[in-house]
Symmetry: C2
Subunit: 443 residues, 2 copies
């Protein structure tokens, strides 16, 4: 076992009821990583990070005990959901303890009047969504890893995804309605926070409180239909995506992939016809309208019908697009941005300089109440300097970058220190033991 | 009986099965009007308009027969739903026959998979919405006269209303999915039009085909909660309305009324506290979020709970606001516009010149995929010239006017002749007998 940590620390931990202690070096290494290898930069920065120790509480009492013991010995404590993130959200920057939250996975309460659900942090989103479907409800926003991601991890570190075309981003008011949080102090408390108090823990990567349960808004269940539209011309395709998003049609996904991407990724949307492709999830009553919009520009429309149990359009979009491209050629990495509203012009400028070392992958999103286009372009890795230059070029044409190649909470967002996040950490994590180094505003 | 029409015309009509003929002068006058008296200008222009004759078909066959007979004798034919419009939609500009469509009121089919409903034109929206609620669905967009308006009349002449905050406007693709139409030609045909072909009859005031049935998209039924928020400061109130509309909360109504209006209209939203008031219909899971947004600016929040059977917030908004104000003082009239995106600044400029002879009534709407603010301000009637000056002032600050004081289809919209509407009239109404004078592009 690890010698960096004090003996009494281990003794205290060993006494905790309902706590699994994982000491296999392989397991510890595995639980110290997420999918940050999408970024060569993060791979270099985080590759050496490793927990000293991994614990898995089976109940909240064990979480409280671990919080108290880590506080007592000033041991860094990093929370881990399902580890499906791409930004090192759960990577212990200064070692210490990684706490696996997966056993806290109960769905505690469903309110059939409001549709609100109270769920423990470790519940997998796929399980939660399946449960909700039996109640005529569904999750509003999901990552492409929705089957295996944990709900706590998604709220703590996600931002948008499937559903963002209708429901915007996780930090928009309306999604996260309450949190149960365990503090890391001498006598850790278990707190029930209302939606206002919960905000500062939303997207704080678990650095200012241990989220143990969440109250979330859901939406009416819809039998989404998978629609695929092929376009010869990129500009037409972008405008069609916008027409679809602006129409009075209920959409759950509106992705557009350049033809080179369609040729490379799995054929779950049908074989490539050498054209750019829109991938849409459409409410049943919207399919004929989308077909009409599509035919008005002479695009090739295909209704693939309802979603099955296996992989479908969802698993070709958002960061799964990146996943598939990297599985073929790990020299692909990616960026994340909100495009300026002269989308096509901006992309043309970038294309002119960067050619096909950037391939466009667009996602229609709702941002500040308006339908906008986000991009998660594939980027050919040509070193950090080149990536920096590309980022600058994108900023110059008016894109807002959400850089996935950085390790701090703030740098991945708007680069601004959120004083509410920091103030919350002062109260809930006074010693700053929750993954030190991750919240830049603290360190 | 009327002498302007040929004797054989009457004889032919009398032979039609299932056709009620109304010849009382009082009834004829009543059925020649709608609520155009909201506009002193329309009152002057339309006050003298009167049908020669009113018929009420009890089945489609009778509609077809009337269409053929009017064609044969070249008699103007004007369609009337429930007559709840405000723009003289169903006023026979050149006399002739008014045809009451109210007996064609069957709900023909509901598709539980898509939620689409096929309904005859004369069905009252209140009845249709009640029916849909038994299927877990509801109408997407409703006028404030939703209890008594007919669905055919609303599609033929309405534009938006309650629900526009989420679903935009009736002409946005996605609402109207198909139409059944009877032509006015020698041998009238009954046609089934798909969504594309239906578009040119959408908002054509029944001037280019007789709509007998409609296929419409609906939405999941939500138990809307009535929320009222009082604000001291107008600018704060406008920004709060925008925050609510931009939040990830399902809203069905977002209205803002100046305090002078709140003091005057019925107290179904609670007694006035001398403040500006937001009237919101909020999904149950959104109420706490709206409360949070409200309290963040120190506004006074009140949750009135679910909607009852009687009058509620709906009946205080859209053109019911105008109705209530006019019932107190018929010198109030109104305008309709989309505000420019510097809303408060624009309203301040107008206020500075026009004082309280204009009272602001705002409605949050979705327009081209973005949350925007429409206004239906109350306007103190000071003559046509003054109204024209106000309209110009509103245009100068960037508002887009939808003038409710004009009689043609085009002038009430963007002032542009829609060649599709005109071309459809050429085919479906070759003699131009459907309310001649109403479609400017034809005459």
């Amino acid at each position: 076992m690890n010698n960096r940590l004090p003996d009494n620390f281990f003794k205290d931990l060993a006494r905790v009821d309902g706590l699994i202690i994982i000491s296999s070096a392989n397991e510890i290494q595995r639980y110290s990583r997420d999918f940050y290898d999408y970024s060569p930069i993060l791979l270099e920065k985080l590759g050496h990070c490793c927990a000293d120790f991994v614990v898995k509480p089976l109940a909240i009492d064990a979480v409280i005990a671990v919080a108290g013991i880590c506080y007592k010995y000033s041991i860094p404590l990093t929370l881990r959901g399902a580890g499906t993130g791409n930004y090192g959200q759960c990577v212990p920057l200064q070692g210490g303890v990684v706490m696996l939250m997966g056993a806290l996975n109960k769905i505690r309460k469903f309110d059939s009047f409001t549709g609100q659900v109270i769920v423990e942090c470790g519940c997998l989103m796929g399980d939660l969504d399946n449960y909700l479907s039996t109640k005529g409800r569904q999750l509003r926003i999901l990552p492409s890893t929705w089957r295996t991601a944990s709900i706590g991890g998604f709220i703590a570190g996600g931002s948008g995804g499937i559903g963002s075309i209708r429901w915007g981003f996780l930090r928009d008011p309306g999604h996260l309605l309450a949190l149960e949080v365990v503090t890391t102090e001498k006598d850790p408390k278990i707190l029930q926070l209302n939606s206002r108090s919960s905000e500062s823990l939303n997207h704080a990567y678990g650095t200012n409180g241990i989220i143990t349960a969440l109250t979330l808004a859901t939406s009416s269940l819809i039998q989404w239909q998978q629609v695929v539209i092929d376009c010869e011309n990129w500009s037409d395709a972008v405008h069609l995506l916008q027409s679809c998003a602006n129409a009075s049609v209920n959409l759950f996904l509106g992705s557009l992939l350049e033809k080179e991407i369609i040729e490379a990724i799995p054929n779950w949307s049908g074989v490539s016809h050498g054209k750019h492709r829109l991938l849409l999830l459409v409410a049943p009553d919207g399919v004929t309208t989308i077909e009409r919009l599509s035919s008005s520009i002479g695009a090739r429309f295909k209704d693939l019908g309802g979603e099955g149990r296996g992989n479908g359009l969802r698993e070709l979009t958002w960061n799964h697009t990146t996943l598939h491209m990297r599985s073929i050629d790990s020299n692909w990495t990616y960026l994340q941005m909100l495009l300026p509203q002269n989308e096509v012009e901006a992309m043309n400028i970038i294309r002119k300089k960067w050619g096909k070392s950037i391939l466009w992958h667009l996602e229609a999103v709702r941002q500040q109440g308006a339908q906008r286009i986000a991009a998660l372009p594939l980027v050919r890795w040509q070193g950090e300097e080149s990536l920096g230059e590309l980022i600058n070029d994108c900023k110059k044409v008016g894109a807002v970058i959400f850089n996935p190649h950085v390790i701090s909470v703030e740098d991945g967002g708007l680069g601004i220190i959120d004083s509410d996040q920091v103030n919350t950490k002062k109260i809930f994590d006074p010693k700053g033991i929750l993954n030190p180094g991750k919240l830049r505003g603290w360190t």
